[in-house]
Amino acid sequence: MWDYSDKVMDHYRNPRNVGKIENADAIGIAGSLACGDQLKIYLKIENNIVTDAKFQTFGCGSAVASSSILTEMIIGKTVEEVKKITNKDIADALGGLPPEKMHCSVMGYEALEDALKDYDKSEYEDLYDIMEPEQQEKIVCTCFNVTENMIWDAIKQNGLKTIEEVTNYTKAGGACGKCKGLIQDIIETYYTKQKAENQLSPTQRILKINNIIETQISPELQKDGGDINLVDIKDNKVYVKLHGKCSTCKNATLTIKRFVEQTLKTAMDENIEVIEI
């Protein structure tokens, strides 16, 4: 039995906003019957505000709950606000979902994204007519029709790191498993790209480390009547000086190793070494 939250159970038992909106301003679809779940979402948009939303879902308890809560989340919001909603927001609103069920929240996000595309299209219909037809998105998982973009979004929004996590969130790789190599490639490409984007200049790096020490580490040490300041940085070695109670405390080395170093490692990179002078 799944460990569903009370909120999930409430929403599949009493789904809100079920049905169809005739003359909807936008309709979004995600999933398919063959894949085991499908969500259709209908939006009524007036003066850039979602005034009504309804859904129809073929799927399990968490799929219905994700759809139901999504309609509640978007009614009354502006289109811009709605565009910012991610699958994580849907899962969080439900008080979390079991890992294997995260793809239900992703389906909600995808249907919403599809509806917003549909809305933009109707707004700028003339413009779309003269544009080149959209390039077909590259399908990675043929069993569940999952595109590269869908996997990319799921990695980005949820910080996914393994193939298994990608399968839990998007279903990709969950059937024949042939696309697992491709999924691994996408994960690696994403993190290589992210690392490149995060590459700091030497000055930026010093400023960032100093900022972490001042805002995250120093306040914690101050609570115990001590303090810390940055002295120098050479490659991965960060030299710091301890003050007050910390400088005479027997546990100082331990404090530095465990807390200061871990904080910097998490925020910066794994190779950082902290040395007290």
């Binding site: 599949y12 038992r13 879902t57 073929f58 799927g59 399990c60 279903k171 059937a175």
Partner: protein
Amino acid sequence: MIYLDNNATTKIDETVLEAMMPYLKEEYANPSSIYNFSKRASNAIKESRGIIKDFINAKDEKEIIFTSCGSESANTAIKGVLNYNKAKKHIITTKVEHACVLNLYQTLEKQGYKVDYIGVNSNGDLDLEQLENSITSETALVSIMWANNETGVIFPIQKISEIIKSKNAETKLFVDAVQVAGKIPIDVQSSGIDLLGISGHKFHAPKGIGALYINSKTLITPLIVGGHQERGKRAGTENVPYIVGMAKAAEIATDSLKYELNEVKRLRDKLETSILKNIYNSRLNTGVANRVPNTTNIGFEYVEGELILLHMSDLGICASSGSACTSGSLEPSHVLRAMNVPFTAIHGSIRFSLSRFTTEEEIDYVCEQMPKIIEKISAISPYQDELAALKALKQI
């Protein structure tokens, strides 16, 4: 609570529990010991072995070994036969076997065995022609379930044995009888079976006890090596109370066979007929004939199985589903896929499995509630046009 998931596990019969109690309390002796105190324990095992022998009509009680579960029986049988004669590298099974056998075969494939998987038709019946054509001089073992756990479809074991032996008399036949024990009569001799596994908790004994029949002409390399218990075929101190419990359960099951074949079947048929009649988007996923008396597998079109089970559970009704979502596997049941159940119904397939403890009132309640549940779920389905078309079709 209404428990209609007896193919998953069953309630322990009170009489079984009573029979076990002395061996959980005062009769705790190790049956291998020398003193008089251990006599009662070793006699209890001997007597139980005799009861299990009769339960499946084996020739000799030496052909019965006790195991911890159905999976252990299957693993001991399959690995035991293959390891005893490592020269032969071909094995045959079906596409619809239980996961414990299928996963084992996938491991064996990696170790260099060639495995043929026999398919089924849309009724769930085995393709006997494919079976016949697959057997070669290299075939060490054929392993086939007697009845499928999800559909209840019975395979013609005697005929299968004849086919196998006529093509290769040395090929061994292992039958996974977990889903038939206590539901239909088992006769290993007239059915031509070499090895057969059963599991106690499927016929009102507790979990953690099973048995394996190995006929006297079949030799195996043991899976669990250690002491001399079970004639060296399965080491480990005997689980006396559970062995006694399973034997008691087998005795009661034998006495209840008539009730299973008549009463349980009548209730199953009542439930099945009522659902198929009153719910327009329902379909029977199997043929009507050749099934164990307690099982029915029904597909509900354009609705999803887990959601059906959750709504049933809210009313205290327990059943199970071949839907992907219930297992977390993302793919629907391999059994229903092998049968080519249409994808409109495969995700909404529910297995109801009754037992001799199921009452008429319970079935009436389920018959009354199922249409309401399916109607409620159908109402939120995005396939309203398809559902309307299906409804119109059924009304004609």
